[in-house]
């Protein structure tokens, strides 16, 4: 579903990605872990076309990204921080996104129902709490039945109930064949969701494989300790 080869990106003197390769088959969840500043968000943003890579190639569903915007019709994106035009209602934001996507399959409003967001969508976005905005963000990511969903720390800011609703949604969409690339600092969540873990450090892939393999390779009992061990090895 997604293939990345030799991705490099530099911001001035700072080399954020130094040759990243990544591969994920359709219907899998890839979790990207790594300390702050390891290049996780930059990697996601290159896949989305928000950031231009200096070198390297990206394929999504067999199609190589070459600066066009059409492929994003098959993508869903849930950014880390959600800010919408303050005076629009949630429903208007979703309608704008739908108009930009053009007519297609019926929207997936399952999350709206699961979170009972109906009444919140009628209010101006500026009056919504941070958690509710984050839910709106998640709704937008799943609304158009994407083939690939990119989530940047999806459960940050969600309460445990809301967070498990989102995780259930991810797992059920995965069985439908949808692929996911997500970042998280919560390793238990990573262990629960991800089929494969990619550990980024200083712009390079330090480890890539099933969560179990990470535990075996480092001799640790859980992923959190395994990741900590990986970070220590380099330091």
């Amino acid at each position: 579903m997604i293939r990345i080869e030799g991705l490099r990106k530099r911001y001035g003197a700072l080399e954020v990605l130094r040759g990243v390769d990544l591969h994920a088959a359709a219907g899998t969840v890839v979790g990207i872990a790594g300390p702050n500043g390891s290049g996780k968000s930059t990697l996601l943003k290159i896949v989305l076309g928000l950031v231009r890579a200096d070198a390297g190639r990206v394929w999504i569903g067999g199609e190589e990204l070459k600066g066009g915007s059409g492929y994003r019709g098959r993508l869903g994106y849930m950014p880390q921080a959600a800010r919408f035009p303050e005076n629009l209602r949630g429903s208007e934001v979703l309608r704008l996104l739908r108009e930009l996507r053009g007519p297609g399959t019926a929207p997936d409003e399952e999350l709206i129902d699961a979170w009972r967001l109906g009444p919140e969508l009628a209010k101006p976005v500026r009056t919504l709490s941070g958690g509710t905005r984050q839910k709106l963000n998640a709704v937008a990511a799943f609304l158009f039945r994407p083939e690939l969903v990119i989530l940047d720390e999806p459960t940050a800011g969600l309460d445990p109930v809301a967070s498990s609703v989102l995780k259930d949604k991810i797992l059920s969409e995965r069985t439908r064949g949808c692929s996911f690339v997500l970042t998280s600092h919560i390793m238990s969540e990573m262990e629960e969701l991800a089929d494969a873990v990619v550990f980024l450090l200083n712009g390079r892939v330090r480890f890539q494989g099933p969560a179990n393999a990470a535990k075996l390779a480092t001799g640790q009992v859980n992923l959190e300790r395994a990741v900590a061990e990986l970070m220590r090895e380099v330091a």
Binding site: Y71, R72, P79, I150
Partner: protein
């Protein structure tokens, strides 16, 4: 409907409910009403309006423009994650804000005069010219503000730059030109003066508007030079070309910066 139109529509829906834009409209409404009541002749009222338009509109456009683009950063990222081209999104963002600010200015300014009516000959054409100049300055200042906001990620720096640019073009420029004219009073300076005016959109708007009033005569010889230059075919073409490039150059540079930017 094109992508740009869709974005403009939603942006207008957002801005129409914005307290800042409503306040902007209200300001012009109260100001024009006040002028109408305070001045005994409608031409005098319009002359006072010119000063405010030349000073306030570039400032408001610059500040609104930078703050708006900085504030929309996350939403721009979300929109760019949709199947939307960057050029269309940039066009939509720009048109939406320029349209909202222009409409607030024109509606606020014109309404009191429409309600009370004006009797002086030529007053309506002059009001139309003021509105056109105001809309033009709005478009130019929003374009410059967008360019600055795209080139500088540091919000404070961006705001400082547009405010300095405003001070330079709308406030200090005139004084500097006067000083220069004074210093070189013994030399033929008309050409230099004309060039200096063409090089500043605020000055260009000022001269074009003031020539509509009798005060042009008060400007003496210089007024006469401008009168002859701007009513001639070549002069008018040069003035229009200068105004158009003040709009086109920042817009094109802004579109290019938007196209290449890493969000």
């Amino acid at each position: 409907m094109s992508t740009t139109t869709k974005i403009v529509r939603y942006e207008l829906r957002d801005l129409v409910r914005s307290r800042w834009v409503l306040g902007y409209l209200l300001f012009f409404l109260l100001f024009a009403e006040g002028l109408y009541r305070a001045e005994d002749s409608s031409l005098k009222a319009l002359l006072n309006l010119v000063d405010v338009v030349l000073l306030l509109i570039p400032l408001a456009g610059s500040i609104f423009g930078t703050i708006y683009l900085y504030g929309a950063r996350e939403f721009i990222e979300l929109l760019l994650a949709q199947p939307v081209g960057r050029r269309q999104l940039f066009g939509g963002l720009y048109l939406g804000l320029a349209l909202a600010l222009s409409t607030a200015f024109v509606a606020g300014t014109v309404t009191p005069f429409l309600v009370h009516g004006m009797d002086a000959p030529g007053a309506w054409t002059t009001l139309a010219a003021i509105c056109a100049a105001g809309v033009g300055l709005t478009c130019v200042s929003v374009a410059l503000a967008f360019l600055v906001a795209l080139r500088f990620d540091d919000r404070l720096k961006g705001l400082a730059i547009v405010i300095l640019a405003w001070l330079a073009l709308a406030v200090a420029y005139d004084g500097a030109v006067l000083l220069a004219v004074n210093a070189f009073a013994d030399y033929p300076v008309e050409r230099g003066l004309l060039a200096a005016t063409l090089a500043n959109p605020v000055d260009l708007a000022r001269i074009a508007l003031l020539l509509r009033f009798d005060v042009a005569a008060l400007m003496g010889y210089t007024g006469d030079v401008f009168q002859r230059f701007l009513t001639g075919g070549f002069g008018l073409a040069a003035a229009l070309a200068a105004a158009a490039s003040w709009l086109a150059v920042p817009l094109l540079l802004g579109a290019r910066a938007f196209q290449r930017k890493d969000f």
